[in-house]
Symmetry: C2
């Protein structure tokens, strides 16, 4: 048994640097983003139901209202790469592909707004997007104004096709351009992701510039991908976690829950870890055909409440104990959220005594323990020397809250 | 698009070497084995429901009868490591741990037989098993006779704690010892697995000695493990596949379907690939609490029929086409079983035109196509230039049969 020495100290550190001052993303945003599920599928002749078209986003907006997603907090319907025409218009403006978005982005935004939702769009800091569509380089003001005119509520700004030494300038310029429009747009950056290959990013600048930022590789629809993101975050937590807070968040990329590559236990692990990382909850799946268990997990109001906790502190991996690892996030009202993950990928459930969780010491003499995942369960008031243990499935998680009871 | 040049030729090769002449395993055996799910859990005080004890195996036997496993063909209830006492008895014989198997193995075998099932046991060619229990080295005749006296129907003979140069001698001696008892016991070897690190095994000898043999690493409850086994098999298929046939089979290890680590699409992939590899179907899961979809998949009679085809030819990976790979297995009556696997682990289903499957050429002018997985579907009579395509989920599979129609 090995216990890493990170206990509690990082939880006390928090950077006083101001976030981007647009009043947005005071808690991590929630919504849906097309990439991991629909990628750059532009063949509407062969695959009309799944190609990147206004129809797809209107259908998602409809489902988000009808099936409780909006009410659960999922608000943004986001386009990713491959929405534009291959060419700018006569006045140099970006335009949606006319065959796939016959009403243009303005009509789509109006439709999404009429449903009480918000629209996200995508562009790139460089001359081209990752998929080779027109990027915003040399057009930051123009494109920001176009997005504002269309009524767009969020910009995901990718970092392909740009020399890394120019990323800071590009991302900052676009941030200023967005603010100058007077519209309030969430600004989602991939800036640090593209800098880590060369040096440690300047997170003071990142947080002043962006509402959320990607640090690491794209998520894939596989457990090895989700694990690698969690592992990267834990290994770099002292560098990245302190920068999270109201107005600015580390973005470990989309939730792939409800697709093809994760078992249900692994889906629960992604949901719990993203909640503890104070991550934007951007699903990328097909909401039109989601299995009931995935839907219930994504709409679990107790997990969402942890993710959306107003204190806005990002959690840390606080211990590695045999095949277990423990992640902890301090919430409002002295509550601590705890995820116990079983990294063993063979055998049956394994038990971890609750007293081995580092945060247990914050409980004082009494603590009220609640299990949120896999099933909601009141575990009752426990004393410091409790023999309570949690059983965690292989590649699964148990998500708990500790409520200290004052003597 | 790249098409590997293996097409059809390997399907014509088959080794004439005689199998172990015990009349057993004329098709791959089917059953249940405890390891991947229950491992070496010997703590019956703390975990009475899941420890390695006679109770566990009796419960599995009960469920196998009650819930249709026996009727579907799953016949062997198999002990793996950790069943014995730490010491041999006064006469030098192996004995079951008396606390966990109070009735001994004989009573357990009688119970299992009373249910119309067969009992498998485990030992090691070396002085100790992998988990440190007594091995059979210097006791081959004694242990073979003990197993025969108990009424055991299968021996899994592991290869830990033995110098690799002595493996051949040990495995052959145990094979002779088993035959000399006059009892008919399936002989499951790990001999080639432990030789591959040093040289290419002598499969002529392996097939003469064993009814099935492991070639590669233990399976884990994860997609990366299942994928690595399939990949190893494909990369070594010319070395191993021709040796499979009635009486002797390559064993890619247990089915982990119904546990924690595979999505349903990945479970279908394992089932289809194991069927095409003519693999022993030894489940390692908890049959007492299996989800209905996993149960239906494991009991799918059409997939089982492919696995159990009396021709007994092991399939090959015949093509790699972009993100797809195609596996094919010739069955009786000129039928060809085909698995199309989508290796992409992001996005939605991808389509492959059926004419790109190498085996399609064997259809002549007309072929009747049936989809077995994910759902049973008659795809009808197709001509050589059909535009039929299959849609395959990420990390999933489509399993088909082609029935040529004679003009």
């Amino acid at each position: 048994m090995r216990c890493t020495g990170l206990l509690l100290f990082p939880l006390l550190i928090s950077h006083a640097v101001k976030a981007l001052d647009n009043g947005l993303a005071l808690t991590p945003i929630m919504g849906w983003l097309h990439w991991a599920r629909f990628m750059c599928n532009v063949d509407c002749d062969a695959d009309p139901d799944n190609c990147i078209s206004e129809r797809l986003f209107m259908q998602m907006a409809d489902v988000m209202v009808k099936e409780g997603w909006r009410d659960a907090g999922y608000e943004y319907v986001c386009l990713d790469d491959c929405w534009p025409s291959r060419r700018r218009d006569a006045s140099g403006g970006l335009q949606a592909d006319p065959a796939r978005f016959p009403g243009g982005i303005k009509r789509l935004a109006d439709y999404v707004h009429s449903k009480g939702l918000k629209l996200g769009i995508y562009s790139d800091v460089g001359a081209e997007t990752c998929a080779g569509y027109p990027g915003s380089l040399d057009h930051y003001e123009k494109d920001a104004q176009t997005f504002a005119d269309w009524g767009v509520d969020l910009l995901k700004f990718d970092g392909c096709n740009m020399k890394w030494t120019r990323l800071a300038e590009g991302y900052r310029n676009m941030s200023r351009a967005l603010n100058a429009t007077g519209s309030r747009m969430v600004y989602s950056c991939e800036w640090p992701l593209y800098e880590w290959d060369f040096h440690k990013p300047n997170y003071t600048a990142v947080r002043e510039t962006c509402n959320q930022w990607r640090n690491y590789a794209d998520v894939y629809d596989s457990w090895s991908s989700v694990k690698s993101i969690a592992e990267w975050t834990a290994l770099h937590q002292d560098a990245v976690a302190p920068w999270a807070g109201p107005g600015g968040w580390n973005d470990p990329d989309m939730l792939v829950i409800g697709n093809y590559g994760l078992s249900h236990d692994q889906q629960e692990s992604q949901m719990a870890l993203w909640a503890l990382m104070a991550a934007p909850l951007l699903m990328s799946n097909d909401l039109r055909s989601l299995c009931p268990r995935a839907k219930a997990l994504l709409q679990n109001r107790r997990v969402i409440a942890i993710n959306q906790d107003p204190l806005g502190r990002q959690g840390y991996r606080t211990a590695t104990l045999g095949s277990f690892e423990v992640w902890e996030r301090p919430l409002s009202n002295r509550v601590l959220a705890v995820a116990v993950r079983n990294k063993q990928e063979i055998g049956g459930p394994q038990k971890l005594p609750i007293v081995k969780v580092p945060g247990w010491r914050t409980c004082g003499s009494l603590c009220n323990v609640t299990q949120i995942l896999p099933q909601y369960k009141e575990l009752g008031v426990q004393r410091q020397r409790t023999d309570l243990a949690v059983a965690v499935n292989p590649s699964g998680v148990v998500l708990l809250t500790f409520h200290p009871i004052l003597d």
